[in-house]
Symmetry: C2
Subunit: 479 residues, 2 copies
């Protein structure tokens, strides 16, 4: 990757181009150019078929039908949208060319503008320019990538809230209050000899407590945010042929009917991650469950434990008729089952465990009653008929505390933000300690400045080239 | 598929929606709505963040930043483009929503508008509406699909010319002249008893000759057009390990360097079809060539013949050092080689054959000279060093008569057009025969009308629901 220094120094003087829509053939494709000369560069290669005016003479936020021409050879009939600085995504002059969706045409148009002196945009460079031009702060820019990657209601909602500045404004509020006190403390330094206290220590303590509280809430929210962003890992464990894949399909049918109407949602994604009630659940190692002969008894409880360790929720699935057929509730196999469940509970007392008796369509009422008597928390289910599937999805949802989500509270999903918040928290703890122990203003000022620094890292008020490089390299090209 | 009758009767009363950009995740995605109520439907769910005006009050060809909202839940921040009837692709009110490129968001917005009474567009329905509203004739509409599918300069140029009306205008010219004479002949029918001739038979004969000439040219162009559209099938035959896959890779490296800069050009496409000098060459059964032990000697010349039969050009490749090593130019293996080449030439005297001696980097000058003395037309090549590859690509290009392409002549690429032209040609021959044999006006009028009917089929002046159904079902959804 080109050095980020190059970005920040040169960026706003050249015109970048990239395909903004997914690659491949479609009805249309959109190519995006941004830079001081974007409009005049396109104007030189564009012939309007309506009013005959030069593109450079058109108003902002208008659309024009015409031809992209390369020395009188018509490459395509296109719609061109004009956005004038500063009223564009990047804050620069922007042109969007909506051409026919042939990869050949996309390539021809890009090559034309490369010859005319534009250059291919780097990953995330449009959003980087938006950030550098003050259209977005850093956490908002990061939310753009999260928004594009969001594949369920919860992750979409969090990214949307963050992109619209929800997270930034919460951080900004804390930062501003802290900054007020910081300036009072720094003022004290100027009058060090007079030993005055401009910053009321009691008020300052109250503020530090409030900041501590908010930081703690944000830091704690990361646990929720992280699983929402990445999907909640669920382990389905059990012997072969207890119906694991049938259960997965039943969950799929229940929840993914709508998604399948949209082309491009690949089977792979559906199979691995299922969106239930707007939350993504990632059924880990499901391919393994389906393909390998994963016998708990033979390979041992160890393999089961490995799976559970990678997950946040465990579904223990067993074949109810088979267990009842081969033994009475007091028989040997039944004891083995209870023993296994006990082992899991014993090893992972904090991890939610859902015990599911599958194939209960083959049981009579008496058998079901004896099963429930033996294992009170068992949930009866028939993956085949769909009985109990809804109860299972409700149980999964209840396990996830999404109270914050519903209350529109800020949830941290970004590891970088999380790290900065942890660091800010540490510094605030130092300030608190300093206050308690009557630390001198000059030393306390250092801790406060450090905390302010970490707040600034989140929103991008404090930044450096490596940081920007890391963030934007993860974007797709064209964004 | 919904009955086409439904299309034509109901179509213009409802609002259709579809994803216009390729499916999958990208920086942005474009959703397109068309219909009488398209603007007001979007207006109801759109909140401007700039001027606060209702979308329905905005001018045509303007772009607006705002939120797509579902009962106060913000689905996305989007750009909305407004096109007012008749100044749009379909000729109806059209709205394009440019949203963040997350499949989840695309789905949410589509679902929202389906709930608001829009329906999913059928394949090609936007273009069908454009045709029904007189924005395009039928051959132009078909060219839209060809344009999107075009993957090299030649097919792109032909589709572009056809979309811009080049083909239609040629047909229309013939049709109009024929129509003039037809009306004169039909007029004669009204005066049948007086035995007058309004249509000058000599002039008519000249016209029929001209039409015959043009039709013949168009019909003949189909051979070129078809290979350009579908790629020119090339068989590479030869024993195993003579370097077929290395040759393919060398051709790839020579010509596809630019394409590989654009993401999404899949390896598969590159491997099977190579664009050389703007023409697509389809190396048939290349997977087979690479993977199977396709021994000409052992499986016999039959398999080689099968491959040649599917192709338009044959490349016969042999390992020069190996042939020279195992035998002198007069030896047994050399004779076998010459015999094989003779068999191919004998069976397919019309089919271009390129004889390539590979691995000549391992020969000395004397060996090369003896080879060229024995087989004068042999082309020396080294797939490994790249020597001779350019000569080969030039030879391939020379084989294809693209004079018509360079002269900007109309080339027929569409099987439906080809069939209609053949039928029109037959009818014109009947008219010619009638003229020669002094057929009565009423009988001749029938043949002329038939010819006119077939011209009309091409441009869509004559049409029926089945025809439209067949044509537009092959489009992608969203176009």
């Amino acid at each position: 990757m080109r050095s980020i220094y190059y970005f920040c120094d040169m960026i706003q003087n050249d015109t970048i181009i990239a395909l903004a829509t997914p690659s491949g053939a479609g009805a249309i494709a959109v190519l995006r150019l941004s830079g001081k000369d974007a409009i005049s560069r396109v104007s030189d290669c564009f012939k309007s078929v309506t009013d005959g005016k030069q593109l450079r003479d058109q108003k902002t936020h208008t659309i024009h039908l015409g031809h992209i021409e390369d020395a009188n050879r018509v490459i395509d009939e296109v719609l061109v949208s004009v956005f004038k600085n500063p009223n564009s995504y990047t804050g620069e002059n922007v042109v969007e060319i909506s051409c026919h969706g042939s990869p050949y045409i996309q390539q021809e148009i890009i090559q034309l503008f490369l010859r005319k002196g534009c250059r291919m945009a780097d990953a995330g460079e449009f959003t980087l320019r938006a950030f550098l031009n003050g259209k977005l702060d850093l956490s908002q820019a990061e939310a753009v990538a999260d928004l594009i990657a969001s594949d369920n209601e919860a992750s979409h909602q969090i990214a949307m809230q963050q992109m619209r500045g929800g997270f930034s404004s919460e951080i900004a509020k804390l930062r501003e209050e802290l900054l007020n006190f910081a300036s009072l403390i720094e003022l004290e330094l100027d009058f060090a000899e007079e030993d005055v206290e401009f910053a009321d220590r009691t008020q300052f303590k109250t503020l530090i407590d409030r900041i501590t509280f908010v930081l703690k809430r944000l830091i704690d929210s990361f646990a929720v945010g992280n699983v929402i962003k990445n999907g909640i890992p669920v382990a389905i464990v059990g012997e072969p042929n207890v119906g694991k894949s049938t259960l997965l399909n039943a969950l799929l049918n229940e929840e993914r009917a709508i998604v399948s109407e949209i082309a491009g949602t690949t089977r792979d994604t559906i199979e691995d991650e299922i969106s239930i009630g707007g939350i993504g659940f990632r059924f880990i190692d499901t391919a393994g469950i389906r393909e390998t002969q994963d016998v708990v008894e033979s390979i041992g409880i160890k393999k089961t434990f490995e799976k559970i360790e990678q997950s946040q929720v465990t579904i223990y699935l067993f074949d109810a008729p088979s267990v009842l057929r081969t033994a009475s509730p007091k028989g040997k196999q039944f004891e083995a089952l209870k023993n296994e469940i006990w082992q899991i509970k014993n090893k992972y007392p904090q991890k939610p465990l859902l015990i599911i008796a599958n194939k209960i369509d083959k049981l009579d009422d008496a058998q079901l009653a004896s099963l429930q008597a033996a294992i009170p928390e068992v949930k009866p289910l028939s993956a085949k008929t769909g009985f109990g599937v809804e109860q299972l999805t409700n149980a999964l949802l209840n396990l996830i505390n999404t109270g914050a989500l519903r209350n529109n509270e800020t949830i941290v999903t970004n590891t970088r933000h999380y790290d900065a918040l942890l660091k800010a928290f540490e510094e605030i703890q130092k300030v608190k300690h300093g206050l308690d122990s009557g630390l001198s203003s000059d030393l306390m000022a250092i801790d406060v400045r450090e905390a302010l620094y970490y707040f600034g890292l989140i929103t991008g008020e404090v930044t450096n080239d490596d940081l920007l490089g890391n963030i934007f390299a993860n974007f797709c090209i064209g964004k």
